[in-house]
Symmetry: C2
Subunit: 358 residues, 2 copies
């Protein structure tokens, strides 16, 4: 069977950091082995550094990013709770869907795709919501929204932020911004394989955790007795050991480089990519001032066949880029430079290949 070696420039997964790949093969340990628990504690410490938080309840959920969204909602939302959610792309829409399944009474505030959410409109949408939810970096559009203003003016509401495509790639400041609940994925700017959802929960949000959430697998009361560094560890479920080894190593690579340096590397790649694509005649999709360096979106020019070009990029160059979602399928490309993929050599190669193909 083929063992293709792709350059992954879609909306994630990226190519993982070599250290993260190597750690996957580390000898297996039991989930109650003191050595493994030490690695888990250290992973959570590293996550706190990357999240810029002192939240004690900070750990990787044993499932992918969308389970991070679900764990944040299912633990604090009870049927009938008022929730305000900003929607400027697919993942805001997903948050509405998940909140509704938790029984929330959702006020959905829509914004044009390609635009950020407007904090003021979100804050005005309901007099006293239990929770305000928003996506920091919309993976469907390549747009960054401002979080700090929401945190500063949220009042008694809990602020939930989707950081799947932002964490590790652009500044995320959980404590400074006043974020109560946030989740991410390992396969984007953290440069690790998909499979875990780092989450962080403020002490204030912990007061709102319901006694018996609808989900047992995602029950933070039970999970915190295992992941929490102090006291005896109570078994809840068997941790995904190898993936945690890998996250531990991937975070090590990011922190060895320096988080700010990693942001700068993503920024440099994004700038060059936007410039190169514009030179090739592409129009940028996300509004200026809110463009993610780690995920560039462009409209597919007239006369360029979306499927043909993406397929030839894959077959002739081994490069994956992403197509549009929803109404923008066939009309938009999403080009990621995340994690280990965020290297100028990859940007230059992609631009060279596109020069041949379009």
């Amino acid at each position: 069977m083929a063992l293709s070696d792709r350059i992954l420039m879609g909306p994630g997964p990226c190519n993982p950091y070599p250290d993260a790949v190597a750690a996957l093969g580390r000898p297996m340990l039991g989930h109650l082995d003191p050595e493994f628990l030490g690695i888990l504690d250290e992973t959570n410490d590293r996550l706190r550094e990357v999240w810029k938080t002192s939240n004690r309840l900070t750990f990787p959920v044993s499932a992918t990013g969308s389970a991070g969204m679900e764990i944040c909602l299912v633990n604090v939302i009870e049927p009938g709770d008022a929730v305000v959610i900003g929607v400027n792309g697919v993942f805001g829409g997903r948050m509405v869907e998940v909140a509704e399944r938790c029984g929330a009474d959702v006020t959905r505030v829509d914004f044009e795709w390609g635009q950020p959410v407007d904090p003021e409109q979100l804050l005005d949408a309901h007099p006293n919501p239990k929770l305000i939810g928003v996506v920091h970096a919309e993976t469907s559009t390549g747009v960054r929204s401002e979080i700090g203003e929401l945190g500063a003016n949220k009042g008694d509401a809990l602020l939930l932020v989707d950081c799947v495509t932002s964490l590790g790639g652009i500044p995320v400041e959980i404590d400074e911004w006043g974020v109560d609940l946030a989740y991410s994925g390992t396969q984007k700017c953290l440069g690790v394989a998909p499979g875990l959802a780092p989450v962080t929960v403020s002490e204030r949000a912990r007061q709102f955790i319901v006694a018996r959430p609808r989900s047992w697998y995602l029950d933070l009361n039970l999970i915190s007795k295992y992941v929490d560094g102090e006291g005896a560890r109570a078994y809840h479920h068997t941790a995904p050991i190898s993936m945690i080894f890998s996250l531990h190593a991937g975070l090590g690579a990011v922190l060895d480089e320096g988080l700010e340096n990693a942001w700068e590397r993503h920024e440099t790649c994004g700038r060059r990519l936007r410039e190169g694509l514009t030179d090739l005649g592409f129009e940028l999709f996300a509004v200026e001032g809110h463009r993610l360096p780690e995920l560039t979106t462009v409209t597919v020019p007239d006369g360029v066949d979306d499927a043909v070009v993406r397929s030839r990029l894959l077959s002739d160059y081994g490069i994956e880029i992403g197509g549009g979602l929803g109404a923008y399928a066939g009309k938009v490309w999403r080009i990621g430079c995340m994690g280990h993929t965020a290297r100028l050599r990859n940007v230059e190669l992609l631009l060279a290949a596109l020069t041949q193909l379009v």
Copy 2:
């Protein structure tokens, strides 16, 4: 940091098959890459062989074994549904808990720990339950229960079976036994790292899937549009690519050996382990005739300090064995021979080490 190389003879995780470890490092692919989708399809084909089923909806859930339990319940149970669950250990109790959180009206039928469930008592517990749930191989006690009689006499009920510790180690016959929903974990007799929950759902059970289950992450309607081999693949969540590579390879190792040969290897190890432990003066905990070869339980003899011996096994020999759960903490050992760990050399080494320590 230490990189200890354990011999994992607890209740799971086991030592993974070398092929499964190597596959973790396979170059990353996108979750919509045709090459990855081919590997996923082949993984599901291999799972069907191991499950002995033709169920089309057979795939690995992107989370650990307990999420397999939850996905089977949350998709078919609606508030008020009558459910009968047999409890002869921790995992039957967990099934009650998960079913109750789905809103089920649960009739719990308890059996002594160390004994199998009695199919007749389960069948008599309720006149027309929507679902009967049972654990095939209780990881907390090392006991195997009979499934075929339940399947033959279940009437209109759906039969849900926990195969976490049985799949790959002892015969599991989903179609022949009339099982409607079943789940397992990768880290036991399949010989892969923890992180995925293989599930299989019969065509009959699919008729019962509710339109909008309480969990979005575990929504089988949405997931089946991605994992199902036919037609276009609709993105639901980013698959845990590296773990699926590993499961693909681990199943390949099992099927190359021959599933029946793998069962026989587990059987041989279990027999020798029981014999050796008995010679050392241990008393077997699980009732005769229902002892799992892949997980042997013994009562800790008087005068033997549970914590000291297990700790010395780990520090002096690098061998992990498991302690008892619940009321049997400190009183019972659970000794696994699963997956790649199920080799006579490991059994002999453990017996030699115990000869020194007890």
